[in-house]
């Protein structure tokens, strides 16, 4: 197989790589904020449960979470059906391993990244001086307005560099989808490498990720610059 064919074949997977990337951001960025707010809840139970989930998601490999979300439901249904049979309950679950792996892959990525974003948001929220909340309250802003108009824009400004780091990591992490044989760019590259006993597909993959991240870096830099009209 010549280089051009390799590149073309791997490019076909690039769309799926991008799908993982953009869908993960689309869901995890807002979900992370919800998680961060739950984590800061005044209800001890809520914040403790949230903290536990965050620690599990950050403390176990993403690869494991991908496998759990993709195949977990199937194994659970098998176990349930065995039990139902043993006790003659006459019910049965019919959950197969979904054909479209994009759904479980994005679910796993989104909850994993949400837990990282949540911690970033939390540190950003905690860095806000209490005086901003008090000034807003005295000036008649409601709680929601205070958050949306006064706090959130400043928090975003503060956490943007950390968010950029996570986004760069996400680009590279999309390759993890090979663990559940989702046909994104890296999975295809790995298959070619195996069948052709060639190292070249890995070099091609490396170049793809590098260029992808160069673009991300450029875009994030523009966004950061557009927000740096004031200092904190």
């Amino acid at each position: 197989m010549d280089l051009m064919t390799m590149i073309l074949k791997m490019s076909e997977g690039l769309g799926k790589t991008c799908a993982i990337f953009f869908l993960t951001l689309l869901f995890s960025l807002p979900l992370g904020m919800i998680v961060a707010l739950l984590r800061r809840s005044r209800l001890k139970v809520v914040s403790a449960i949230t903290r536990f989930f965050i620690s599990v998601l950050r403390g176990t490999p993403l690869m494991l979470q991908l496998i759990a979300v993709t195949y977990g439901p199937y194994y659970v249904s098998v176990a349930v059906n065995k039990l139902a049979e043993a006790y003659n309950l006459g019910i049965g679950l019919d959950i197969g391993i979904s054909k479209n792996k994009l759904v479980p892959v994005v679910v796993a990525f989104a909850i994993n990244y949400a837990s990282y974003f949540a911690e970033i948001y939390r540190s950003g929220l905690e860095s806000m001086p209490v005086g901003q909340y008090e000034a807003a309250q005295v000036l008649g802003y409601s709680k929601i307005q205070t958050f949306m108009k006064i706090i959130l824009p400043q928090v975003i400004r503060r956490i943007l560099p950390s968010v950029t780091n996570e986004i760069v990591t996400l680009v590279k992490d999309t390759s993890m989808a090979f663990t559940v044989s989702y046909q994104e760019m890296f999975t295809i590259g790995k298959q070619i490498a195996n069948s052709q006993t060639s190292f070249v597909p890995f070099v091609v993959a490396g170049v793809f990720y590098y260029v992808f991240n160069a673009i991300i870096g450029f875009v994030m830099d523009k966004i950061e610059k557009s927000m740096s009209y004031y200092t904190i």
């Binding site: 005086g131 000034a135 309250q137 005295v138 000036l139 008649g140 400043q154 004031y230 904190i232």
Partner: protein, 250 residues
């Protein structure tokens, strides 16, 4: 009728009583200074008046609007807190301007978004306020581009843009270099001359003496003494006041 009336206010943090049965009344056009040693409860009193703290007991009334009152042995706050909030303004020690808003947006956003006032009208009023503060050329600047004294003047203008009946200041010059203090005090003096009702917590004794109609000396959660600046600063018979002022004049 008084613009502000607080009666029998009590406030504790955990088990420490910080305000012990405080009552104050401020009339329209009056300038009242509150002085006293650190930890005497001056800020806490202002924070109770501005709804940043909830009182344990007592009543709080702005003109004809009841903000909090006693029902039996428990305190009740009005449901319409925002209407109460539009009656007063508060100037913080460290300004607390919104850094991501330009000067003019800091001034205009609260009246326009929260008081639903006409944008053009508010804009013209805010320009007049900035002019008065000597900051007309800073309309489009961001707070980070201004000196401390300028930021504090913006925050005074921001409070005034809400058209409050009364303005509270909590040590408005304590965060400023001595050479910037003067420009802020000058603005407050100007407001006093225009008969703006004001309550000023300050450590600037000579300023308090010059600007106030009445001085309140607080210590340890109680009002020890109050009177005209002459009565409190020059002719006090109270030992505690004398001792405090002696330490200050040293």
């Amino acid at each position: 009728m008084s613009v502000l009336e607080m009666k029998n206010v009590r406030k504790s943090f955990k088990n420490v009583e910080v305000l012990k049965d405080i009552s104050i009344k401020v009339d329209k056009g009056e300038v009242v200074s509150i002085i006293g040693p650190s930890g005497s409860g001056k800020s806490t009193l202002l924070r109770c008046a501005t709804l940043l703290e909830t009182m344990d007991a007592g009543s709080l009334t702005y003109s004809d609007e009841k903000a909090a009152w006693m029902e039996g042995s428990s305190i009740k706050y009005t449901k319409n807190l925002n209407s109460v909030r539009s009656r007063f303004g508060l100037v913080f020690q460290n300004y607390n301007l919104f850094p991501h808003y330009s000067v003019i947006k800091n001034l205009m956003d609260p009246p326009v978004s929260n008081q639903k006032r006409d944008k053009n009208e508010v804009y013209n009023e805010c320009r007049v306020l900035l002019d008065k503060m000597g900051l007309l050329d800073k309309e489009n600047a961001y707070p980070c581009m201004l000196s401390g004294g300028q930021q504090q003047r913006v925050s005074i203008a921001r409070a005034l843009a809400m058209k409050p009946d009364i303005l509270f200041f909590d040590e408005p010059t304590s965060a400023l270099d001595p050479e910037l203090t003067g420009e802020v005090l000058k603005v407050i003096k100007q407001l006093a001359d225009e008969k703006m009702t004001m309550v000023i917590v300050t450590h600037e004794m000579s300023f308090a003496k010059a600007v106030s109609d009445r001085v309140i000396f607080m210590d340890n959660g109680v009002i020890v003494e109050q009177g005209t600046p002459e009565e409190v600063f020059d002719n006090t018979a109270n030992e505690r006041t004398k001792q405090f002022l002696r330490n200050y004049n040293k």
